[in-house]
């Protein structure tokens, strides 16, 4: 498994390399969402629709506090993690997800190029799962591309409900037992 990228600023609280934050978007999951696009991905899937996001040093640093401010002020939205691959900054995103769960009622959808199986096999990566509501997993595979799919690009990718609560029936989704 590739090295994950983990940055700490001098104070010890985590920072995230962010490409962009979209507020009140409806393209990244149900309802309106605050979408955090992080910089950095090493999967390099052929046909990726956002290769600018691969650069591990791209974007700019933002502290968790700053990001939380934006999330909280975007009242009518839940949250989405995307990019890039948030799991390449897993400690920072885990911290962010934990705070979101503690301080708000918002749900979190997270996109990743890792598969669910790869994640639960790795202790560091699995640490984020308890704080996520939905994981959209798997690399983008061009041969399996299907524009009719919701919220994902190729048919190998899955929408996985992690806490057993399926709020809205979405075709092709996979409900799993809650992760302990």
């Amino acid at each position: 498994m590739e090295k994950t990228f983990d940055a700490k600023n001098l104070n010890g609280t985590h920072v995230i390399r962010v490409l962009d934050i979209l507020e009140e978007t409806m393209a990244d999951g149900p309802g309106l969402r605050t979408s955090i696009y992080c910089a950095g991905c090493l999967h390099h899937c052929p046909g990726c629709h956002n290769p600018q996001s691969w650069d591990m040093n791209g974007g700019h640093e933002m502290s968790i506090d700053e990001i939380m401010d934006i999330i909280i002020s975007d009242e009518f939205s839940n949250v989405s993690f995307s990019g890039g691959d948030p799991f390449y900054q897993v400690e920072a995103f885990t911290e962010l997800a934990r705070r979101i769960k503690e301080e708000t009622d918002k749900t979190i959808w997270c996109w990743t190029g890792f598969t669910y199986e790869e994640i639960i096999a790795d202790k560091r990566l699995a640490a984020m799962l308890p704080y996520l509501d939905v994981l959209v997993d798997g690399p983008f595979i061009m041969e399996k591309k299907d524009p009719e799919l919701l919220f994902r690009g190729s048919s190998n990718q899955r929408i996985i409900y992690l806490n057993g609560k399926q709020e809205v029936p979405i075709e092709g989704t996979v409900p799993l037992k809650p992760v302990k």
Binding site: E23, E24, P30, F76
Partner: protein, 735 residues
């Protein structure tokens, strides 16, 4: 002694020597010898002495010519005669040019004025010819001088001016229950009280289609679910009767059984009375569904409005919590979702969901499930829009959740946004009333004219001064039109004044409508607040707190003046955030011609709709809501909040719900969500891509792009006028 003059339209006005003097000196001005006021006065005096009480304009002009020929200044006579001929020719030539344009089916703004009208068909063309004729007649003969100047100066725009001579009113909310219960006489056909759901829904169409020909604006049904509900139960009872007849058993006791909902279910495993009931329910639901389909299909295709137009129709629903009402709501939503024809989006009727806490919005509300469904339908089909009955200004003290007729206290809107609720001269309700006419002020021009003031405060002072003038002129014009409209006879509007308009039941055939039309509203509209603010302080209200403060000040001022006029002139004046369509390019063109290209103001083809944040300005839906919401309270004549969303909301109805939550939080009165809807005309594939040229499914290139314009949907943007197309290109998605 000549006392009065008969104008070309038949009006009688006072004889005024000054007019003759002016005309003669004008002719003198273009001769070498120049003016001779004394001679002009003598000629005027000579004509005044003619021993006739009244003379026609033509007669007077004849006499002037004669006097000039008999005077030492014969060359003036020549100029006078030439000028007279020129004017006659110009009057005819102008029509000729316009008529030619219509005939050659050119894509000019004349043929593109209204997005839902097909002006290329014979009926459409006849309408245009008539329209252009009446407009010039109104200009020349029906408007007072100062009003005419304000119109020609592009300061104000009188809406539906072509209908002015007919004395028509704008729009009405149909009290369909009265018609369904009592039947009506529609001029050439009579209708008995309705007995079946099929008839009831068609009568809804007929009512709107008939009255459309008696009015110049839209038609709406304020409580569609409540009105149709009794017929659902009637259908159920008929179905029980049929079963009794077929089986020979007597099931009549089941006719009044209590039902929570009308839901189709398979009969497998159901026995006895339950089976009878379920079968009757299944048949009822099918019949209601078919009736709703017929209703939508009818409103979407019958061109009953003059000029080959479909009726501008709207229906409001959502608050009937009875099982029957819910069945109506469910089936109208199902029909809409399925689409007309091969699954295309129906452009009419505009549908409006009545959102009300405790009834049709919160998760614990009875109609919450239907509200969710409505959002899903809206994501795909643009409708329903949402009227927020929880906004404080939409409350009604007499509304009571137990009242079976509570819809009379629920505000209803026209699809385009026109709102009629408050009433100084009768009961506060939306039903059985409507707008009488509205006129829009070009506040951008008023602002531009103040731009030469270097000091900001002076500039703003001057603007309010000019606004005062424009408001006074508008109020005067609306009153003048009212005074003309009130002379219409009841028999000129047979169905409107026969069965719909409040109080009309007391009128005799040959009475004028004067005693009842004061129930209606007079609308003072405005366009381009954003551009006006840029002209005054360099920024629009979406991007600057200061501009927002000034914007609110301006519209508050207009609202306060409207209230003053209501007191003074004894009418229901209100401010309306004008739905600008044909108008949105006209003012800009005139202003650009006079003032040149002013950045941010006249450098585009259109002015921003009323108090909206400019479509090109990127901001989140929340920010837009914060900015626009306070204006809704000030514009009781009508307002709307639009959000452009990024992408296909079809599978994301939560996004629509989040927008409604936004409306709820900020007390927005009426709102809707815009998005693209592309449809491949070959295979039926639909999506929401921004610039779809080729179908991803069948690779055809025959794509119909559906978009919303001023509240109405139009496909194939080729039918939009230039200004609206320009605005469409600028529309930015709100994220």
């Amino acid at each position: 002694m000549v006392k009065s003059v008969i104008k070309r339209d038949g009006r009688i006005v006072e004889f005024d020597k000054k007019k003759i003097i002016d005309a003669v000196t004008k002719a003198m001005d273009v001769t070498d010898e120049g003016e001779d006021i004394v001679l002009a006065a003598e000629i005027a005096a000579a004509i005044a002495k003619i021993s006739k009480e009244s003379m026609s304009v033509e007669d007077i002009q004849d006499h002037v010519e004669m006097e000039l020929m008999n005077s030492p200044r014969k060359e003036v006579a020549k100029k006078y005669i030439a000028y007279r001929n020129q004017r006659n020719l110009a009057r005819k030539a102008k029509s000729r040019e316009i008529f030619k344009e219509i005939i050659e089916a050119q894509a000019t703004d004349i043929t593109r004025e209204n997005a839902n009208m097909n002006a290329d068909t014979p009926a459409g063309m006849m309408m245009k010819f008539a329209s252009e004729s009446t407009k010039s007649f109104v200009d020349e003969c029906l408007l007072s001088e100062d009003v005419k100047e304000a119109v020609q100066g592009a300061y104000i725009h009188i809406h539906d001016k072509d209908y002015y001579p007919t004395k028509s009113l704008t729009c009405v909310q149909h009290p369909l229950d009265r018609i369904l219960k009592n039947g009506f006489f529609a001029g050439h056909g009579e209708s008995r009280p309705a007995k079946r759901i099929e008839t009831a829904s068609i009568l809804g169409c007929i009512s709107m289609e008939t009255v459309q020909n008696e009015m110049h604006g839209g038609q709406a049904i304020p409580a569609f679910d409540f009105y149709m509900a009794p017929f659902v139960r009637k259908a159920f009872k008929e179905e029980i009767d049929k079963i009794s007849e077929i089986t020979g058993e007597d099931y009549s006791a089941l006719k009044d059984v209590q039902l929570d909902d009308y839901i189709k279910r398979d009969l497998l495993g159901i026995q006895g009375n339950d089976r009878v009931i379920q079968h009757a329910v299944n048949m009822t639901v099918s019949r209601v569904h078919q009736s709703m389909e017929a209703f939508v299909h009818n409103m979407n295709s019958i061109h009953s409005r003059g000029g080959n137009q479909v009726v501008f129709s709207s229906i409001n629903y959502g608050t009937d919590t009875s099982a029957e009402g819910r069945c109506v709501i469910r089936e109208i939503l199902n029909t809409t979702y399925e689409g007309v024809g091969n699954g295309s989006t129906a452009i009419f009727p505009i549908q409006i969901w009545k959102k009300k806490r405790g009834v049709s919005y919160l998760p614990e509300d009875r109609n919450y499930d239907l509200y969710r469904f409505a959002c899903k339908v809206s994501a795909r089909r643009f409708f329903p829009n949402f009227i927020n009955l929880d906004a404080p200004f939409n409350h009604h003290e007499q509304w009571n959740a137990e009242d079976p007729k509570r819809y009379e206290y629920e505000c209803a809107t026209m699809g385009c946004r026109t709102r009629v609720f408050e009433n100084r001269f009768g009961p506060k309700t939306s039903i059985g009333r409507g707008n009488l006419s509205f006129t829009t002020i070009n506040i951008v021009r008023l602002a531009i004219e103040c731009m030469n003031e270097p000091d900001r405060n002076d500039r703003i002072q001057k603007f309010f001064h000019r606004l005062d003038w424009a408001l006074d002129i508008t109020a005067k014009q609306l009153c003048e039109r009212f005074n003309f409209q009130k002379t219409a006879l009841k028999k000129q509007f047979p169905l409107l004044m026969g069965a719909l308009w409040n109080g009309s039941e007391n009128l005799e055939e040959n009475d004028t409508i004067e005693s009842v039309i004061n129930q209606g509203t007079l609308g003072i509209g405005f366009i381009g607040l954003a551009e006006a603010l840029i002209a005054l302080i360099g920024k629009h209200h979406g991007e600057s707190d200061e501009a927002q403060e000034l914007g609110l000040r301006i519209v508050t001022y207009m609202r306060d003046k409207a209230n003053e006029y209501s007191e003074k002139f004894k009418h229901n004046f209100s401010v309306i955030a004008t739905p600008a369509e044909g108008l949105s390019g006209r003012f800009t063109r005139f202003d650009r011609k006079k003032f040149g290209i002013l950045p941010g103001i006249t450098d585009k083809e259109y002015y921003t709709n009323s108090n909206h944040v400019p479509v090109y300005y990127k901001c989140t839906p929340k920010h837009k809501a914060e900015i626009e919401a306070p204006y809704h309270d000030l514009t009781r004549g009508g307002h709307i909040f639009y959000v452009e969303i990024d992408g296909d909301a079809t599978h994301n109805p939560e996004a629509i719900m989040a927008i409604v939550d936004l409306m709820d939080r900020y007390n927005i009165g009426y709102g809707s969500v815009n998005h693209n809807r592309n449809r491949c005309m070959d295979c039926g594939y639909e999506n929401a891509d921004e610039n779809l040229e080729e179908c991803p499914h069948c690779h055809g290139r025959n794509i119909d792009k559906l978009q919303r314009i001023t509240g109405y949907l139009v496909g194939t943007t080729g039918r939009w006028n230039n200004a609206k197309l320009a605005e469409l290109h600028d529309r930015v998605v709100h994220k």
